[in-house]
């Protein structure tokens, strides 16, 4: 009797595991709640993150310079204080190889409340560490979000850190003209 109960349990675990393996194999290792838990599995890669700065008082000529984390333009904009999930923000920027109208609109939706009154500059920061443990960072401004308009980094045909062509020019209210950028 107990053996039969146990066998039924092991069989059920087997079925759940097989379903999990099939889903993971066909969905790049992630099908909630199944996962191969690959976080931090790839080691030694330089990192890429995103950070927002409050730049209402920064002159336009200083906005688009590449900087280090210590010399970013404007003032700190702690996203947690505004109820914006930091990981969502970073992943959104990291997974946006091309900044079209929809992507900018998505970013504006994330920052909707502070954008009523503030101007924010979003940086993409790339970092590395040398052999003595010293960190080196390079922060590239990606997009300026103002209450009534958005502006992408103005260098024509520059290549983004993510490999996509960067757009040119400004557009009102986050409404980027159509077409891939």
């Amino acid at each position: 009797m107990n053996g039969e109960l146990g066998l039924r349990g092991v069989r059920a675990l087997g079925v759940l595991s097989l379903v999990g393996v099939a889903l993971l194999a066909t969905h790049l290792g992630e099908f909630w709640p199944y996962s191969i838990y690959p976080m931090f599995s790839v080691a030694g890669r330089p990192w890429r993150r995103a950070i927002a700065r409050e730049v209402s008082d920064v002159p336009a000529g200083e906005l688009w310079q590449t900087r280090t984390v210590e010399t970013l333009a404007g003032r700190a904009f702690p996203v947690a204080e505004h109820g914006i999930p930091q990981i969502d923000f970073t992943e959104y920027v990291n997974h946006s190889p091309r900044w079209d109208a929809a992507r900018v609109a998505g970013l504006r939706a994330l920052f909707a409340t502070p954008l009523r009154t503030q101007a924010l500059l979003v940086y993409e920061v790339r970092g590395d560490v040398d052999d003595d443990g010293t960190a080196h960072t390079r922060a590239e401004p990606v997009v300026l979000l103002e209450p009534t308009r958005s502006e992408l980094r103005p260098e024509p045909a520059a290549t983004s850190l993510l490999g996509g062509a960067l757009p040119v020019g400004a557009f009102p209210g986050g409404e980027v003209p159509g077409g891939p950028r």
Binding site: N2, G3, L5, G6, L7, R8, G9, V10, A12, L13, L16, S17, H27, E30, W32, P33, Y34, S35, I36, Y37, P38, M39, F40, S41, V42, A43, G44, R45, P46, W47, R49, I51, V69, A76, F77, P78, V79, A80, E81, P85, Q86, I87, D88, T90, E91, Y92, N94, H95, A102, A105, G106, A109, L110, A112, G127, V129, D131, G133, A135, T137
Partner: protein, 315 residues
């Protein structure tokens, strides 16, 4: 082998103790409470979402964008809650827990469609799946409880071991090189800067950045603890392995500013030896009750005896 695994996970060969029953109720309450909390909490974020950046799970096959612009995420949270209540109260446990689990999957893929893959809820999801499966596989309440607990240990143990294996497959044994920790400290410090507006290293991070050997020791210990997670399958190893995993999560928190708080709570509720503790407490309560009854009984007897000895009381 299968018989041994079955004994370790489910222990059908011996009767369920009262302590085990209360441990299960604690775990089930934790799972259901967390699921319902997240279902409602996520619905707020879902309504702020504008686009699917990374389609996860079922979102790779069906368009989930209607979840964003309407009140569908709130409706789904309501359905998850209703299913959870039906399951928890055993009104319709099979249907209730299965519906809650499926709704929770939809809520997860809607919440995390912005690119982040968040593993904080995977253990809870696996626990709810174990509850739903238990209701379908066994008709008896004690067997359902034993299976749900055993399946949770099975999948959580597998999860930790899988995380260790992923590291070895992707980076090899040199994954533990302390320079890798340096990179992650830099990355996560930047995240903390973005989140809180301050850029500061704590003493553990400074010590790790100051010594490659120390950083390597930290990573090596973490990898070993993750691999040891598989020992959660074995009854005798559960409490020490759960404590080691909790310590590892706290280490990750201090070294990389990532707090896996729900995993810690999950390990505390599931992995620590609550059953013997409850058993002892229940034993004490029972002993105290017996003593009280016997005292009351004794006073009653004394009173009766005194009454009997008084000649003026009519018999």
């Amino acid at each position: 082998m299968i018989a041994r695994l079955s004994r370790e996970l489910f222990a059908f060969d011996r009767p369920e103790t009262r302590g085990e029953l209360w441990h299960f109720k604690l775990y089930e309450t934790f799972l259901v409470g967390t699921m319902v909390f997240w279902a409602w909490d996520w619905s707020r974020s879902i309504q702020r979402t504008a686009a699917v950046v990374k389609p996860l799970g079922i979102a790779a096959h069906v368009d989930i964008s209607p979840m964003f612009s309407s009140g569908l995420s709130l409706l789904n949270a309501g359905l998850i809650s209703a299913g959870a209540v039906l399951g928890y109260l055993r009104v319709a446990p099979r249907l209730g827990y299965t519906a809650a689990f499926l709704g929770f999957h939809l809520q997860y893929v809607s919440r995390y469609s912005l690119g982040e893959i968040c593993h904080a809820s995977n253990f809870v999801g696996m626990g709810v799946l174990a509850l739903a499966a238990a209701m379908w596989v066994y008709p008896g309440a004690p067997e359902r409880r034993k299976f749900a607990m055993g399946a949770s240990f099975f999948f959580i143990g597998l999860a930790y071991a899988s995380a260790a294996l992923s590291k070895l497959v992707a980076s090899g044994p040199l994954w533990i090189d302390g320079r890798h920790l340096w990179l992650w400290i830099g990355e996560k410090s930047l995240d903390a800067y973005s989140k809180y507006g301050t850029l500061e290293l704590n003493p553990l991070q400074r010590a790790a950045l100051g010594s490659r050997a120390f950083a390597t020791l930290i990573l090596g210990t973490g990898l070993a603890v993750e691999a040891a997670g598989l020992l959660l399958w074995f009854r005798g190893a559960r409490a020490p392995v759960a404590l080691l995993c909790i310590a590892m999560h706290l280490g990750i928190h201090f070294a990389m500013n990532i707090l896996f708080d729900m995993s810690i709570y999950h390990l505390i509720v599931l992995g620590l030896p609550w059953a013997p503790l409850f058993e002892r407490l229940l034993g004490r309560v029972a002993t105290a009750s017996l003593l009280r009854i016997s005292r009351l009984g004794g006073s009653a007897l004394s009173a009766a005896s005194a009454r009997d000895s008084r000649p003026d009381i009519a018999r």
